[in-house]
Each structure stands twice: as C-alpha cells, then as structure tokens.
Amino acid sequence: MMTAKGKSILKGIAIGKIRFLAKKQAEIKENAADSAAELKRFQDAKALATEQLQALYDKAAVEAGEEHAAIFEIHMMMLDDDDYNEAITDLIQSEGKTAEFAVKTTGEQFAETFASMDDEYMKARAADVRDISGRVVNILTGTDTGPAESDEPFIIVAEDLAPSETVQLDKSKLLGFVTRLGSTNSHTAILARNMNIPALIGTEISEDWNGRMAIIDGYNSCIYIDPTEELLKTLDEKRVRDLEQRAMLQQLKGQPNVTLDGREINLYANIGNVSDVGMVLENDAGGIGLFRSEFIYLHSATFPTEDEQFAIYKKVAEMMGGKKVIIRTLDIGADKQADYFNLPKEENPALGYRAIRICLMQHDIFKTQLRAILRAAAFGKVSIMFPMIISVSEVRQAKEILEACRKELIAEGKEVGEVEIGIMIETPAAVMVADELAEEVEFFSIGTNDLTQYTLAIDRQNPKLDPFYDSHHPAVLRLIEMTVQAGHRHNCWVGICGELGADPTLTETFLRMGLDELSVNPGGILGLRKIIRELNLGAASTPEATPAVTSSAKEDNQPKKKFSLFGKGKK
C-alpha cells in the first residue's frame, strides 16, 4: 500500500479503481499554405465548440445548478471575445499559421496574462482560457475530449481537470478525483463540492496508478493506492456511515430545534466570510450567531474602508433574507494580528491590547466599522456584539460611539437600520458583573474558548498543559449557568458562540441551563438538531426549575420570556 497526501476539497470517502486521464497531445503543424481555408476551419471549429459549450451549460445547469453552469456561458463569451479572435485571425491571415497553431498560441498568451495577475481568483482564470482554446484545438486536430465510457465506477486521476472535463464525466460512474494541479478556488473544486464528490488537489500523482484499487480519504486529505483489506473494510464502513448520516440529516432540514417535551432553542452558524453564507443556508441555520468581522481585516493589506465593509455586511444581511446576522466587532490582537495595525509586541498578548480595548482607544477604526454595520442594517436583520468586555463602562462607551455614528449617518442623509446590541461574555469578570451588564444590552453570547482560557489560566496552544485541561471543568460550566441566569433576570437572551456550543455531550446540559441559542460551524447544525429533537428534559421541566450544574439556590422561578429583537427601550 502507498499513500499520497493532497489538499481535500470535500470531506468524504471514495473507494474504487483508478482511471488515469492522460492528456492527449495533438500533433500541431505550424504553417499552412491556404490562409482562407485555415480561417474557415477556425470559424467552423469555433462554431462547433460553442455548440458543445451550450450542451455543457445545459448539462451542468441540471446537475450542479444554474449558478455553477454560468462558467460555460462565460466560456462561450470568451471564445467570442474580439481581442482573442483578432489575435487568432491575425496569426492565420498575416503570418500563414494553421488554425490550431494560432488558437493554441493565442490561448497561451491570454492565459499568461491572467496567470501573471496579482489576484488569486484571476490567476485561476488562466485555466478557463486554456480550456476553451484546448477545446477548439481538439476539434481542429480531431482529438477526442473527455474520458472514454466505462461500465465500472472509477476514481479519476489527472494532472488537472478543466471545468468542462469535470462536467463531461459520467457522474453515475465517477467516485472521486485526484489532481496534481488546481486550486481550492477553481471552478472544478467548486463543482466537485456541489456534486458532492470527494476530491483531492495538489497531490503527487503517478501514471502507474492506472487501474489500481484506491481509497480517497477526504478527512485525512490523502489517497491510498492498493489499500490493505483491513483499511478497505474500515473506510468502507465509514463511507456507508457518511452516506446514511448525510441522508438522515438532510431530512432534518426545515424542522424546528425542539425537544420531545417542547423546549426550543435557536441554532445559528458561525462565519468569517461572505463565502461561508452558502454553507449556512445549505445547513438550514436559523441565523448567523457570530460573524467574525476580524477576518475582513486579516485578509486585507490595509484598513478596510467603510464602503468595503458595508458591501460585505450588506451582502450577508441580504443573503440571509431577514434572518438574524450578529456581527462581532473587530476582535483583533492576541493570536490574530494584522501588520498594518502596528500593534506593539506584548509580553502577554492574551491579556493585552486587543478587541474592544483597541476600539475604545482608536475611535477612527471603530467608527468606520460601526458606520458600515449601521448602514448594512437597513438591508436585513443585523445585531452587533462587542467582544472582550470586562466592565459596564466599556459597554456604555461603545454604545455612545455607536449612537454618535448613527447620528452622523442620519445627518449625512444616509440610510441606517435598527440594530440589536449585545456583548460577548468571555472573561470571568463579565460573568461576575453580568447583572449590571445585562441592564445595558439585549443579549449575551458566551465565548467559551476565551472564557475557559481565562478561567482555568490555561493556554490552549500549549500541548504540555493538556493533562490539566478539562473543557467540561465545572468552573466553566457554572460561569455559563450564572451568565444565563443573570441575563434572564434582565430580559437578555443568552447564547454560546464558542467551541463548547458544538459539543454534543453538553447539548442537554445547555438546554437545561436555559440557553436560548447555540451558534456553531455551519456543518454542525443538523447534527445538533438531531440530538435536540431526541432529548426529553422531563415534562415539568422549565429551564429555571432544573439545576444543570450547580446545586446553588436558584433565585426563583423567573418566567422564561420570549426574547424580542429590537426596541426593548434600553438606553
């Protein structure tokens, strides 16, 4: 057995024989005798290529959806591009080249231009130009495209796969694919994800693999050639479980997150980018519980402008179509650094100049973001959440700045929307003063990663401390429960957006504590929904009546109120 590592496009297992897709190199003559005849050959080939692309468009539209088929429409337009056609015609007419030589040369030139751009997305478009040029050349030289038909399902291994090749493959026979080239941004990768085919890119492949048995393990980003019987058995079981799991979870879409005895909880998703919203909708999240806005800053070479941020927040709010989007304001510093902030080196960055502390000291940075959020709020249901809070005065200051931004925008005649205001609870200090904090805001979201680190005084990055680390430490769980109780005493809804929220062994505990929301990675939503729907907290159970962790005396039976979104009238 041998193993090759790659970059996984889709978590999944594929088992089958390998078909190595060798690119056929067409014989290309350079010079032609009859320019007029060559020009006619080019035009005929182009017409046929356009027809083929139209057919591919129709096929992809059915299999992967209209949006993913659009690439073939772009291919048709590229093929019809004036500059491209002029360059080809010129080579044929003025320089006496053959049609295929002219197309190949021109295609390479245009591909080079894209490949040299400083934008990863545009670089990947070089593959599109090569794809269309290759198609025309293949028609001109009579080389067939795509793999031959086969009766047996197979794993495709190739240098690279052009989008058109991916679509041409017979999906009922295709188990997965492995390529040496390609990027996670390529259309091929996107199509693979959409068609749910396990795939690896960036893998050192070999032609010798042709016809051999293999397993793609998308979880471990590798392919096993000639796997042992034992591994085959293990991974096949995993593959079957995957399929069952997926089918079962799909059935939970559109179902409420409600226990057998009727307790309901919101399941929201954590995101870092606009590109994650697709996954959020795909997994039927009730909203976005944590939009880590710092990723906008981390992916930028300089401070992102108000308009840039506005465009992103607006897009997310619109895509979520009226579902709640909770944007956490800039949480930079500690392990998240961007050079242009010029933050000084600190002895103890986790306890240092970070998150809301930066925002309250450097108002210009903070206001740019707040203005963008307020403007985006006019296009959807947007909430704002301040990170790393330790005291009431910080919340008041942040709210004052927010209010000032709102007034400025209104004075400038800009449209602004209502925002629900909340804070992250991620320091023990915030838990201890949660009652006072709750007077200021409409919701709490517990950041369990930092809360655990600060409570246990354990750095999670240090593997030496693993023996001391307990993610279910009663101290942390009690702090969470105290937060819920304090929040509910003051009409604040309380959620968790840290890793602990996704821990299935704690779901019941959290429901018993009375948490109103759990925000987890999009992929975790349906799994949690399943757990919740199978739980029974006991018929008489109200969250406040059932102590979850502590045996400490409960305040009383605060009636659990439905949290409202806006307009609690808190000042």
């Binding site: 659009a70 690439i71 429409e73 772009i74 337009m77 590229m78 591009d81 004036d82 500059d83 491209y84 245009f110 231009t113 894209f114 751009m117 400083d118 934008d119 997305y121 545009m122 478009r125 599109d128 130009v129 606009v274 402008t305 308009d307 840039e308 506005f310 465009a311 992103i312 607006k314 897009k315």
Partner: protein, 85 residues
C-alpha cells in the same frame, strides 16, 4: 459623449461572471463604451480585457459612452452598475 464614475461595491469586484453580464448589457448599443481605472482603459465589449483589469471592490472606475445612442446607453449602463456592481 457621456461619462460617469462609479465605485464598485460588489465584494467580489468585476470578476468573471459580473464581467460577462456587463459585456452582455453593453453589446446591444451602437455607442463605444470604455471603462477606465487609473491609466488603463478597455472597451466594455471585450470580456477578457475587462477581466484582465482586475477591478476590485472599492475601486473607482470611469465609464465613457460615445455614439449615436449614447443617451439611452449611458442611462442603461449606469443603472446596470448601480444595481449589479
């Protein structure tokens, strides 16, 4: 001659798909339409050249429309930018 400038707000900028739709929107008009960013200008009918400009979110571009139907063309194209880009 008609002219307008516009700051791109679509987070992805003018990449392949938006470029394709833009070229399509411009094609029906007889006027010459040119897009300029910095010192680079290209004909809005030329998809690959347009993509090659690598126009990103936040970039300000200037669009010039000149020809027999420039009035209606300018109006339609400006509307297209506002709604789609």
């Amino acid at each position: 001659m008609k002219k307008f400038s516009y700051t791109i707000t679509d987070p992805v900028g003018i990449h392949a798909r938006p470029a394709g739709v833009l070229v399509k929107a411009v094609k029906p008009f007889a006027s010459t339409c040119t897009i300029t960013k910095g010192d680079k200008s290209v004909d809005l009918r030329k998809l690959m050249a347009l993509m090659g400009m690598g126009i990103k979110c936040g970039d300000t571009v200037e669009v010039t429309i000149e020809g027999a139907d420039e009035d209606v063309a300018a109006e339609t194209i400006e509307k297209f930018f506002k709604e789609n880009l």
